[in-house]
Subunit: 213 residues, 2 copies
Amino acid sequence: MAPTKAPDSSRRSDRSRRAIHDAALALVTEVGYRRTTIEGIAARAGVGKQTIYRWWPSKAAVLMDAFLDLAGRTAEDAGAGDAGESGEGAQGIPDTGDLVADLKLVLRATVDELNDPALEAPTRALTAEGIVDAKLGAAFVHQLLDPQLALYVTRLRAAQEAGHVRADVDPRIALELLIGPLMHRWLLRTLPLTHAYADEIVDYAVGGLAPRP
Amino acid sequence: MAPTKAPDSSRRSDRSRRAIHDAALALVTEVGYRRTTIEGIAARAGVGKQTIYRWWPSKAAVLMDAFLDLAGRTAEDAGAGDAGESGEGAQGIPDTGDLVADLKLVLRATVDELNDPALEAPTRALTAEGIVDAKLGAAFVHQLLDPQLALYVTRLRAAQEAGHVRADVDPRIALELLIGPLMHRWLLRTLPLTHAYADEIVDYAVGGLAPRP
């Protein structure tokens, strides 16, 4: 019957996509972005290269989708664990009413993601490509980064409503005091990226550097 | 620098080095980092490629020295203009006693440097290479970035002594709240990098996001 056929082919298709994503991430880790090819990804994923060309225009697009897929899976996992605890829904930053604690939780998780050796090489490769290639960079920001930054805007707006952040602060700028230092330290490897560092960034950003009267 | 009488051969050598630096910066702007070669730099600078190989092991090393040379010239220019005004010496961040004003001045100048179209491509190229190549990245941080960050540490320590920054703040971490957001916005091109943005980052970092009691 018809209804069984579509799900099967759709499941096969999902399996192929996942295999292609995993192959792309693994290849970039092993041989670097430049030496990763569509042919290499196809061979590793066990699909024909025409399958990849049918779905994606370039290896950069494959890698971007691999990260989008990962981000989706992470959000699902987080949703399964935190459902009901968070005021912001499955994918949001928790709102326990304690801004500093909530931000430390999410920045520590970001530190763990950035320090994950399985994703370090592809994340660095995609970011570095976007830094020199404005078009790829715009896609990276639009598809991967902006949705994450929007979660900070939502949480900081809630903090403003609760009186925990000044009303004249622009949340879209304020979030860069949190994300910017972490990414700068990780990208340039200036010093180790640790939970203690994430905590201090949150404390400094929320409390300010100047003495409180 | 000191107006010592340089021998003719030393002046010729300085001229060659400067020509090689300028050729490297221009070539990366025109054809990109990957297609820039030692041969291409030599041809453009009007020197033999052996001259370059005698002084530098790689094109990355040439580019790094080009930036060090530029940084030195910028410091000299700043020194000529600001001498006597600044409590930190020619290359330091000014200390007028007004931390917020001094930081805005230096962050606005950083915005101008990052937005300089003549240097955008080589700066992006060198940074991106350092993000994927840990050894090159370490040289970039050690030679180019750390000396600049040290100026912030000095200025923030002076602010602590003056009671304008809390005594329990670590200046080496605090400076990342200023530099991190600027570099993040510039590298990823999330939003325009403007003087107004630099000002807001300084205000938020020094004053904090939370309401003052």
